[in-house]
Symmetry: C2
């Protein structure tokens, strides 16, 4: 029934395929079109569970996994039942599919998704946020989004030098956390004070105060500033911070990966808000 209305594509010269190829390889195109491509079973399950609108389902014709086929039916059925327009289904010849797919030998299912509407300037002002300052590795960026949302921090703001957060590899690594996040891109560190009411805290391996030994930073909303691997936070980000905290790692050992550092800071915030810095359970 679904396959009857599917569109088969066998040529890379197809205009739609050319458009997807741009979404897969050109981050600017994602922002210009406000569309993205997401590959994989897990993110398709997350889109289904979040009832996220799906423009198109793209299957590797004859070589998609049974789970991928089942998800196509479920996402299409759920859209119909809730009165939304069901996604178009495209069956791509395997070579055409692989010319777009962000990972080799994936499950054979991609989705074209609209980016969510940009939130009103003031809607997120009072919330916790995570600011990514020049994080270029897509795996790290995706893990950061996933960790932040799991810790209860749902606003992710990214500097102009950060990887495109709706690019296929970031989507893949975040495992569906995008659907529970508010993602703001192209935000400068100097704008954070205007956009957010929270206390701006730099996680900085090079100095500042001890994360655990410093009291009170978790009261009220916090905007965490996290820097890239290697260079760490930029001068602009450090200048925008009201407080610098470091994680007290073992002396003479390597610094932490930025995603690991974020996990430590954001879950220390979560722990303190549940139990207080003194360990007494709250609420």
């Amino acid at each position: 029934m679904i396959r009857e209305s599917a569109v088969s594509i066998t040529s890379e010269a197809n205009e739609r395929v050319k458009g997807w190829k741009k979404l897969a390889s050109q981050p600017r195109q994602i922002r210009r079109e406000r569309l993205c491509l997401a590959e994989g079973l897990h993110i398709a399950m997350s889109a289904r569970d979040a009832s996220y609108p799906v423009n198109a389902l793209i299957l590797r014709d004859g070589e998609a996994s049974p789970e991928a086929e089942a998800l196509v039916r479920e996402i299409t059925g759920a859209a119909r039942r809730s009165g939304r327009r069901p996604p178009r289904l495209y069956l791509l010849a395997p070579a055409v599919y692989e010319s777009i797919a962000p990972v080799e030998k994936g499950c054979g299912l991609m989705m074209e998704l609209p980016l969510p509407p940009e939130p009103a300037a003031d809607a997120l002002r009072g919330l916790d946020a995570l600011f990514l300052d020049g994080v270029q590795d897509p795996g790290n960026a995706g893990t950061l989004i996933r960790t932040a949302v799991a810790s209860g921090v749902r606003v992710i703001a990214a500097s102009p030098g950060t990887v495109e957060l709706w690019s296929p590899k970031v989507l893949r690594s975040a495992m569906g956390a995008h659907f529970g996040a508010h993602i703001l891109e192209n935000v400068k560190a100097s704008e954070l004070a205007l956009r957010f009411a929270g206390r701006r805290i730099a996680a900085d391996a090079r100095g500042g105060r001890d994360l655990y030994d410093t009291k009170g930073w978790e009261s009220g909303p916090v905007v965490w500033l996290m820097g890239a691997e290697g260079p760490g936070l930029s001068q602009q980000a450090l200048a925008a911070a009201e407080l610098r905290l470091y994680i007290p790692i073992e002396p003479a050992t390597e610094s932490l990966n930025v995603a690991a550092a974020a996990a430590v800071c954001l879950f220390e915030q979560r722990r303190r808000r549940r139990f207080g810095a003194d360990g007494a359970r709250r609420g």
Copy 2:
């Protein structure tokens, strides 16, 4: 002076190149030969700082960065000064170098390193440890080693299903943390009780007790069991654990990446040991 004694290699048919290629691509070869290949400036700096023995320095001839050339001089000089045999220097034609290199367009410097001697069975018995149960992603495995060592946990044990921890990608992602770790491979979950005295705690998103709400687990050494992405801990690993702890993430959000989960657990252990579960500073 160093270049005068260098060996130039221009053919992939060279026997030494064939050996390195095996080390780069065949995990079994690493264990058989007890040799590994590490690529990149950062790990070379770590080897220099740790005075780790280096068998060979391998440069991309004419296309190595100035930093790589400087490190060759420093590592060679340091070995001479401390009376160790200096590493042999090999200059590989760029195409030959790229045929081995684990990353494209790297800095042009690789090292051949001996694996450290295996520690005596009982030497590590009373220490904290991290057990990796089927972690196959090399980036995650490397980050896990880096995070563990930074948290003060220096023993890393890996199940037979875990990626080879001395493979080039794991070495790269751990950023030199290998040199501060004791790495044990091919360890079964069922052997942990014999090999380690510590309390065996499973980090398990599917159940158990609240990491923060459970008291006392940090007293005495701990052996943390962490599972792979997706499947989580195996039945064998769960059966070997004395306690299961979960990280209380925000309801209805994605689970954490294994490396993020380890960061949360291992630094909660570190925090408690410094301050106590009640928040009072110790020592």
